[in-house]
Amino acid sequence: MTTKRAQKKSSPAVTSITQKTRLSGAEAPRFEYAPSVQSSDFVQIEKRNGLFIGGKFVEPKSGRYFATINPATGEKLAEISEASADDVDLAVKTARKAYVNVWSKISAKERGRYLFRIARLIQERSRELAVLETIDNGKPIRESRDVDVPLVAAHFFYHAGWADKLHYAFPGQTIAPLGVVGQVIPWNFPLLMAAWKIAPALACGNTVVLKPAETTSLSVLRLAQIFQEAGLPDGVVNLVTGAGATGSALVGHSDINKVAFTGSTEVGKIIARAVAGTNKRLTLELGGKSAHIIFEDAALDQALEGVINGIYFNQGHVCCAGSRLLLEESIAKDFIDKLKRRLTKLRVGNPLDKNTDIGAINSEGELKKIKKLIQLGCDEGGELYEPKTCKIPEKGYFQRPCFFSNVSSSFTLSRVEIFGPVLTISTFRTPQEAVLKANDTPYGLAAGVWSEKGAKIHKVAGALKAGVVWANTYNKFDPSAPFGGYNESGWGREGGRHGLMAYLDVK
């Protein structure tokens, strides 16, 4: 045994320890982190995945399948069913039947119990869900494990509590569920977006047909297994997988009472047009170009972490990403120097490595789009900084974290959503100018303000036209906090008491 170990240890890597620990003045100290890869072989993935309709996994009537790939390797993970209009129709009919016969008949307390059960099962299977999310989406395991999955469970717990207390949310008013809701979610937080959609819908007494994004269906389908395990009545939640055509069939179906969509502003507008003239309710959570304002009197080292978290969290695939950094001119140079140094410490690579800070871009198409916009930023005269020391894997879709300084509001990069790890930096001189610049956007999803002066924060936050304003922090989510945007960032709110309104008829 000992001999075996000794042989194993006589690798060149260990020999180098001798040199490293000699600590002579001549050799520069180093500290490399060895790969610490989360095991993934315990997560079984079906080669072919059906649709989830009526509590069962069924083959698509279309008979068509498409591949879902691991963006970190470019390899195919599994085949996913492509739901046709007929499949969607079946799912909606099933949801309607479940609504009429079961879900609208049981007590609110009973609904809450199902949600509690689902929440607990999510916690029990959290590692499996985190690994699956990371494999299919590309996000670092540290984030799926510590942020996504705990928030998913939190959303079900939170709404489980509301189910039998809805009358207290709207005292003196009459409330009723809407019926069948059609939901379409994006690929950046597949499980979390499913939770944001499904949990309030069920708590309020609706049944659901949900379509995950075509590149990230696996974790949502795993959620269906949890619904089965929790004994959720058949047909209360149905999942139809597929791309745009499937989504359009769902949104256009005549027997749904509400459409909830999270995704790009472009698709949001198409959906708004499709729903216009019907009596369907609509909530949209769309894009953003959120401003992150740092005043000279901010706690700069902490603000720096806020900026990092704001734009590089989840590879920047965050609708509320703090993608426009506005620096008070007096501190701009120092802050940009700090940011440069900090960027060299970010670790890009295998999303399953527990030490990875930035994982893979979700798809080849997204990576191309990001690269194109980076090129455009250079052409427009922005100063690009990309840490040269940052190594990225040869296979898979990866983008180094980067930023553009010297950016004006009139640059394309200041106005369009990049949806990647690319930050733009401009400067301002006064709080008034900061507000003006922050609001100078077609969007209005979120904003961040950093100052150690409380009065200034309140004044500025009040003037910002953004659905969420974070003060001295960024990207903090809680099921009790309503989330949503101004202008092209969307209609309606999700989460909290406000979020319930989107799934209830309140009279």
Binding site: T2, R5, A13, T18, P29, F31, Y33, E305
Partner: protein
């Protein structure tokens, strides 16, 4: 941004600027380092490094020449080489290094110097009326000179918290500058005693004063007050060091002391240094641990890495 006007040791005007600290953000960032997963070769590397950065310390009223001598032996050989080789049966794991320094009261310096002669291990001495610092400056200077004269090449002084908390920052500055002068060529570590300062803003301010007044190292605690070293306090001090370096080009060392008991904690601190200041700070010249009980846990972990199993505690001496 807090700016304090004072005069430096040459009578020149000096403005000390202390960046404000957001406690919530600093604590959150510090906690991040507890999620780093350091395994295999990098773990072994970190463990060896941590031993070489250790300041073994005995600071008790009951310290005797015998006790100090025994601690010095432990410092030279944290574990007897024969035992390590026998246990690990390894040819490729390097010998366990000696620690960086032994830290004792001035009266014990000569004992330590004698035992450690030729070992390359530094002899550090607390001076300046450790741990309270409540003595006249003249006494503090005398004590420092005495320790240096007896052969201490590192002095761990305490700042005057009485002066600091009453707002007399000039007094704090002057005492550090005076002790620095008394040190001569000996390295000066300035203990802020962060557990008595009350906020991270004050930790940052005290760090700035110490660095401007001539500290070679800044150090969290005496070990006599709780809380001693914590990750957030250390982070704030490391960030102060980073800003000072980028402003002046001077590299100041850091020493968290007290409360670091396990190898796991030691690795978290090393990750924090690595990602805040960079790997160039990962040498005993610029980073130390004021920790004694941590050493045996590190040894236990190295034995585990070398042999694949945990050893019985009693393999490692208690000194």
């Amino acid at each position: 941004m807090r700016s304090i006007s004072m005069t430096d040791e040459n009578g020149q005007a000096l403005a000390i600027v202390a960046a404000p600290i957001d406690e919530v953000g600093a604590t959150e960032r510090a906690q991040f380092f507890t999620t780093r997963s350091i395994k295999k070769d990098s773990k072994v590397h970190a463990l060896y490094l941590a031993i070489s950065m250790c300041d073994l310390t005995t600071l008790e009223g009951a310290d005797t020449p015998g006790r100090v001598r025994q601690l010095c032996e432990k410092a030279r050989h944290p574990v007897p080489p024969d035992i390590f080789n026998e246990a690990a049966k390894l040819k490729d794991f390097p010998p366990i290094p000696s620690v960086a320094a032994v830290c004792v009261y001035p009266a014990m310096v000569s004992v330590a110097v004698k035992v450690l002669a030729g070992s390359g291990i530094h002899v550090a001495s607390v001076a300046t009326a450790f741990p309270s610092g409540q003595s006249p400056l003249s006494t503090k200077i005398d004590e420092t000179r005495y320790a240096v004269a007896k052969g201490a090449d590192e002095i761990d002084m305490v700042i005057n918290r009485g002066a600091f908390l009453s707002g007399d920052y000039q007094q704090v500055f002057d005492e550090i500058a005076a002790v620095k002068e008394a040190c001569g060529t000996a390295h000066l570590k300035v203990i802020l005693e962060t557990g008595e300062l009350g906020s991270l803003d004050r930790v940052r301010l005290a760090s700035e004063i110490a660095m401007h007044a001539g500290a070679d190292f800044i150090k969290t605690s005496t070990g006599k007050i709780q809380p001693a070293a914590t990750l957030p306090v250390t982070l704030v001090m490391l960030q102060a060091i980073a800003d000072f370096y980028h402003k002046t080009g001077k590299k100041i060392g850091m020493k968290p002391a007290g409360g670091i008991r396990t190898a796991k904690q030691a690795i978290q601190y090393l990750c924090m240094v690595n990602e805040t200041l960079g790997a160039e700070w990962l040498t005993p010249q610029l980073f130390r641990f004021g920790a004694s009980s941590m050493l045996n846990d590190i040894l236990r972990q190295i034995f585990k890495e070398a042999t694949g199993r945990y050893y019985y505690d009693r393999v490692f001496s208690l000194d």
